[in-house]
C-alpha cells in the first residue's frame, strides 16, 4: 500500500514561491487501480514526480507498506518496487531497444521476452530490437517503448503519466488490454494519470486534481457522473460522452 500524506510543493519560479501541490493526501491499496485526472496544469504530473522522488516536496511524507520512503532517492524507490513511465521519455543515442529493456528489467533479457514486451505495446518486435532509442523513433514509438520498459519488471506500484499521449488508436487499444490484464492480476497497484475515458472507466477509484488540490477522490461510480457533466474541472473526455 502507498500512503501519501500532506504533500506540499511550492517551488520558486522567478524568485517567487509558486503553489503547485497543496496538502495532498491519499492512499493506493494493493492491487488497486487509481486514475488521476483533472485539467492540464493542475499538478497531476508533479504529483507523480513527487511520488517517484524526481521532485522533492517541501512538506509531507510518503509511505510504502508502512515504511517511510520520503527520503529515498529515485533509484531507491525503484528498487523498493515503484515503476514509472514518463509522459515524454528521453532518447538515448547509441542504446538499442533491447539494451534499454534489459536495463529496465534489471537483467539481460532473452530475445523472446523482449519481443513479448514490445508486442504487448503494439510494436512489431523483431524490427525494433536492434534499433537505437534515438530520434529515428517517432514520438508514438518512444511512448510505447516507455510503457514496455515498465512492463519489463514486476513492481509493487506502477505510475504511468498520460500513457495514451501520442499513441494511435490501435496501439491504445492494446495498451488498454495491457492495463486490464495488469489490473486483473492484482499483483501491482496502478496509478494512471489520464484524460482518456477508456482508462478512467477501468479505475477502481478516481482522483481529480485541480490547482494542486484534490477536488474529488472516490469510486468511479461516484466520481464519473460528475466528470461526465464536467462539474469538476475540464476533463477531456470522449466526444460521445460530451454530447
Amino acid at each position: 500500500m502507498l500512503e501519501v500524506k500532506n504533500l506540499v510543493f511550492h517551488p520558486l519560479e522567478n524568485g517567487l514561491e509558486k503553489s503547485i501541490i497543496e496538502d495532498v493526501s491519499f492512499t493506493v491499496e494493493d492491487g488497486e487501480m487509481l486514475v488521476i485526472t483533472g485539467p492540464n496544469g493542475g499538478g497531476k504530473s508533479t504529483l507523480a514526480k513527487l511520488m517517484m522522488g524526481i521532485e522533492t516536496p517541501d512538506e509531507g511524507s510518503i509511505f510504502m507498506d508502512g515504511e517511510d520512503i520520503s527520503h529515498y532517492r529515485i533509484d531507491e524507490r525503484a528498487n523498493a518496487g515503484i515503476g514509472f513511465a514518463f509522459q515524454q521519455p528521453p532518447r538515448f543515442k547509441g542504446m538499442t531497444v533491447r539494451r534499454l529493456l534489459s536495463l529496465a528489467a534489471g537483467c539481460e533479457l532473452p530475445e523472446n521476452k523482449c519481443c513479448d514486451y514490445l508486442s504487448g505495446v503494439g510494436l512489431c518486435a523483431r524490427e525494433y530490437l536492434d534499433r537505437e532509442v534515438d530520434n529515428t523513433l517517432s514520438g508514438g514509438e518512444m511512448k510505447r517503448l516507455e510503457i514496455a520498459t515498465v512492463l519489463a519488471k514486476p513492481h509493487k506500484i506502477c505510475i504511468f503519466d498520460e500513457p495514451e499521449a501520442g499513441i494511435d488508436l490501435w496501439s491504445f487499444s492494446m495498451l488498454v488490454k495491457q492495463f486490464e490484464q495488469l489490473h486483473a492480476d492484482k499483483k501491482e497497484s496502478l496509478i494512471l494519470i489520464s484524460h482518456q475515458e477508456r482508462i478512467i472507466q477501468m479505475a477502481d477509484r478516481i482522483m481529480v486534481v485541480k490547482d494542486g488540490k484534490i477536488e474529488a477522490l472516490d469510486t468511479k461510480e461516484k466520481v464519473l457522473p460528475g466528470l461526465m457533466n464536467e462539474d469538476i474541472g475540464c476533463v477531456c473526455m470522449n466526444a460521445s460522452h460530451k454530447a
Binding site: M52, I54, R73, I74, D75, A78, N79, G83, F84, F86, P89, P90, F92, K93, G94, M95, T96, R99, L103, A104, G106, T149, K153
Partner: protein, 308 residues
C-alpha cells in the same frame, strides 16, 4: 610460433576484439619489430626493405577473410614509426583488424606512429578496425599518431571503425580518403579521453566520383581536464552524398572543439553536417534511476552505450 608474454597477451586482448591468434594472416609488431607473421592462400604479408613496415597483398579471391596486424609497445622510451601499405584487389572482401596498445611503466614517452595506406580495388569491400589503448603505471606518455590514407576505386566499400577508449595521453589522427565512382565510405570514430589527455582528429574526405557517398559519425566523451578537437571535412566534387555527425559528451573540466566542414565543388553534391556537444542529459539519468540504477551506474551506462 612466437612466445608472447602475459603483459603483451593482456594488451592484445584489449586491442583485438576478435582475439589475436598466430593463425591465418597476421603480423604482430612488438616494440618496434615484427615478432611473428603468417600468410594465407589469399593474403600475403611482406616486410618492407627500405623502411619499417609491411606490405599486405589481398587477393580478389579473398572472401570474408581476416588479417590481424596489432602493434604492442611495452618498452618505455620507444618511438616506433611504421609504414604499412595494403593492396586490396578488385572484388576482395576482407576485415583488417589493426590496433595499438602501449604499456608504459617507465618515465619516458612511448610512441607509435602507424602510417597506413589502403589501395582498394573496384568492387572490393573492406572493414578496417583500429583500437587504441594505453596502460601502465609509469609517468612517461603514451602517444599514438596514426595517419591513414585510403584510395577507393569504383564501387568499392570501406568501413573505418576506430576506437580509443582509455589510457592514450596524446593522439593526433590524420585521415585522408579519395573516393571514386559509386564508392562508399562508412566511418565510426569513438573516443574517450580523461585526465589531461589530448586528442586531435583531422579527416579529409574527397568525394571525387559520381554516385559516391560517405557517412562519418564521431562520438566522443571528454572527462577530467582532457581536450578534444575534431575536424572532419567532406569535399563533394561530383554528384555525391555525405553526412557528417559529431556528438560529444563533455564532463568535468574537459574541453571539446568540433569543426565539421563541408565543401561542395559540384552542383549535385549533397553534404550535411551535424555537431552537438553537451553534458549528460539529466532526463536520461533520471530515466535510468527509475530502473534502479544509481547516479554513477546510470552515467556509466549512458557513456558505454553512447560509445557503443
Amino acid at each position: 610460433m612466437a612466445d608472447i608474454d602475459q603483459m603483451t597477451k593482456s594488451v592484445l586482448e584489449k586491442i583485438d576484439s576478435e582475439g589475436f591468434k598466430q593463425e591465418g594472416a597476421y603480423n604482430l609488431r612488438y616494440n618496434g619489430y615484427s615478432l611473428c607473421h603468417g600468410n594465407t592462400e589469399h593474403i600475403t604479408i611482406k616486410r618492407k626493405e627500405d623502411k619499417q613496415g609491411i606490405d599486405v597483398f589481398i587477393s580478389g579471391a579473398a572472401k570474408d577473410e581476416q588479417v590481424h596486424i596489432p602493434v604492442v609497445v611495452t618498452e618505455s622510451g620507444v618511438t616506433d614509426v611504421v609504414y604499412n601499405d595494403f593492396y586490396i584487389e578488385d572484388g576482395a572482401q576482407v576485415t583488417i583488424v589493426a590496433g595499438c596498445g602501449i604499456h608504459n611503466s617507465g618515465c619516458n614517452d612511448s610512441r607509435h606512429d602507424g602510417i597506413h595506406t589502403f589501395h582498394v580495388g573496384k568492387n572490393a569491400n573492406v572493414r578496417y578496425e583500429e583500437k587504441h589503448y594505453g596502460e601502465g603505471e609509469g609517468t612517461g606518455g603514451r602517444i599514438l599518431n596514426p595517419v591513414t590514407k585510403i584510395i577507393l576505386e569504383a564501387n568499392s566499400v570501406f568501413t573505418l571503425d576506430t576506437v580509443q577508449i582509455k589510457g592514450v595521453d596524446s593522439t593526433k589522427r590524420e585521415t585522408q580518403v579519395e573516393m571514386g565512382e559509386n564508392a562508399k565510405l562508412f566511418v565510426m570514430e569513438k573516443l574517450m579521453t580523461h585526465d589531461k589527455q589530448n586528442a586531435i582528429s583531422n579527416m579529409d574526405v574527397y568525394l571525387n566520383g559520381g554516385g559516391s557517398s560517405a557517412q562519418i559519425i564521431s562520438r566522443s566523451v571528454a572527462r577530467g581536464e582532457s581536450r578534444q578537437v575534431f575536424h572532419p571535412k567532406a569535399v563533394g566534387r561530383a554528384l555525391c552524398h555525405a553526412h557528417i555527425q559529431c556528438d560529444s559528451i563533455i564532463m568535468d573540466q574537459a574541453k571539446v572543439c568540433s569543426i565539421p566542414e563541408i565543401d561542395a565543388e559540384h552542383v549535385d553534391a549533397g553534404i550535411i553536417h551535424e555537431a552537438a556537444i553537451g553534458r549528460i542529459n539529466n532526463e536520461q539519468l533520471i530515466k535510468l534511476n527509475t530502473f534502479g540504477l544509481n547516479g554513477e551506474e546510470a552515467e556509466a551506462v549512458i557513456i558505454e552505450n553512447f560509445l557503443n
